[in-house]
Amino acid sequence: MQPIISVSNLTKTYASGFHALKGIDLEIRRGEIFALLGPNGAGKTTLISIICGIVTPTSGTVLADGHDIIKEYRAARSKIGLVPQEIANDAFESVWATVKFSRGLFGKPPNDAYLEQVLKDLSLWDKKDNSILSLSGGMKRRVMIAKALSHEPQILFLDEPTAGVDVELRRDMWDMVRRLRANGVTIILTTHYIEEAEEMADRIGIINKGEIILVEDKRTLMRKLGRKQLTLHLQHPLERISPELAHRNLELSADGTALIYTFDSQQESTGIASLLRQLNELGIDFKDLNTTESSLEEIFVSLVKRDAVPNGLAATGGRA
């Protein structure tokens, strides 16, 4: 199927001479939730701003639903909704006036019933006549989302949607994102909260210093790069790892009560079976065991640091 967004060889050099994007190639699939993950200054906002028409690219092309964002900007932009990173509102307008304005701006005929539903979904309906000035920060952010949805976009960009957002709004926002996806809307969100990408996304792209380092199905990514650890809680503490076990990737916990085995879950043979057999032969008994896998966060940190594979693995919880 044709990707809903395809970015090819996109570069951006700001007037300051700074190369914010260095040849981005990226395809977003129709109907997916795509998380663009990267540290501050990686170029996430720049990339989104170019796709939405707010920043002029230096070179390269972007197609949105098959339309060139520059040559066919009307067709491209009418498909896209954007919730920018920074809150910016017309303070003296009412909530209702501002969403009506947004819908009109995108060339859609009035549809009050639809806008009412959007406001209700975002718990803004009872605030519709309030001026935006009088709303709390969280409510203002909801208004930004309502504006982005006012013209029924097929593609929704959420730039750092949960930065500094309270728990309730965060939950509402994810509910909304799931609902939108169920209705066929493609969602692209940027974040530097890894849990967010891990929780929400179908696919994850990692961007650093203006380059896409990796794009991968979330599960594949987790599996591919996720080193696992098997922890064996011993019946009797050991003083050291015996020489017979030296060839194995084993560590002994500080108190000697646990053996920690690190393996690659992707490999044909994880070595678990033979390890367990050998322990049995050596008479090392264990009373319990659990496995843990590396979180996306560690994968991310290691990629960004240009380490091939994470070494020290921390537990994210016993997902055996």
Partner: protein, 253 residues
């Protein structure tokens, strides 16, 4: 053509004006009334007629032009500067709107306000002095053309400005002096010969002269020249606006 989008901008700008209607309308009405009290009644009663027109009536077109120029520039510049300042411009830039539609929305609203204001001042003036309008069609034409042109000029200032001070600089340092020196309160022919020549470099002279002609049939320069100069200025502003959107100057990084 994104008509809904254009109308959204236009209505948004008009709504802002209506919210502050009293302030938007009352202040120019009061200041115009003051001009009439001072220049029309107090000083004007001691002034001779100019080309057969009483001084009070003579200054009406000039006063309207003066207000139109300042209001057009202020509305035109504020309309686009405000979203740039608050950051809401992102939405306009990301909307499926052509530069023409964006300019028409903002400038159209600013010009509408100016035209309405001009008519209000005209009605206010009528309370103070009796006058007739010899060429109503041309009066409206000059009013509308000037409103559009200077709203567009204001729009460009609003794009160029990087702070509130800059927004004020052009109106205060350039336009107000030119408007005062442009024959609002006197006929250019009353100046010494050298200054008459210098005055012809002041674009506002042509606006006021043409506008006054539409009232009383008297003018400092030929009406055709006034009209041509107004169009020329409008075309220059349009060309700059075209360049602004083509390059994204101060709008897009």
């Amino acid at each position: 053509m994104n008509t809904y989008g254009l109308l959204a901008i236009y209505r948004f700008e008009m709504a802002r004006w209506f919210r502050t209607l009293v302030q938007s309308v009352l202040s120019p009405v009061i200041s115009t009334s003051l001009y009439f009290v001072v220049f029309g009644a107090a000083i004007g009663s001691r002034m001779a007629q100019i080309d057969g027109v009483s001084y009070g009536a003579f200054i009406v077109p000039g006063l309207i032009m003066l207000s139109i120029l300042t209001e057009s520039i202020s509305n035109g510049s504020f309309g686009i500067y405000m979203p740039r300042y608050s950051g809401t411009i992102y939405e306009v830039l990301s909307a499926p709107l052509s530069p023409f539609e964006i300019v028409t929305g903002y400038v159209g609203a600013a010009a509408t306000k100016s035209v309405l204001l001009g008519l209000i001042i005209l009605a206010t003036a009528r309370l103070f002095v009796p006058f007739e309008i010899a060429h109503p069609f041309w009066m409206v034409t000059f009013l509308v053309l000037t409103s559009i042109t200077f709203s567009l000029f204001g729009f460009l200032i609003g794009i160029w400005a990087t702070g509130w001070e800059k927004l004020q600089i052009v109106p205060v340092l350039v336009v107000t002096p030119l408007a005062f020196l442009g024959g609002s309160f006197y006929s250019i022919s009353m100046l010494p010969p050298l200054w008459q020549k210098i005055a012809l470099f002041n674009p506002v002279v042509y606006l006021i002269s043409g506008f006054r002609w539409s009232f009383y049939g008297i003018s400092d320069v030929a009406v055709g020249v006034s009209l041509a100069m107004t169009f020329l200025f409008m075309i220059i502003c349009l060309a700059i606006a075209w360049w602004v959107f083509r390059t994204g100057y101060r709008l897009k990084a």
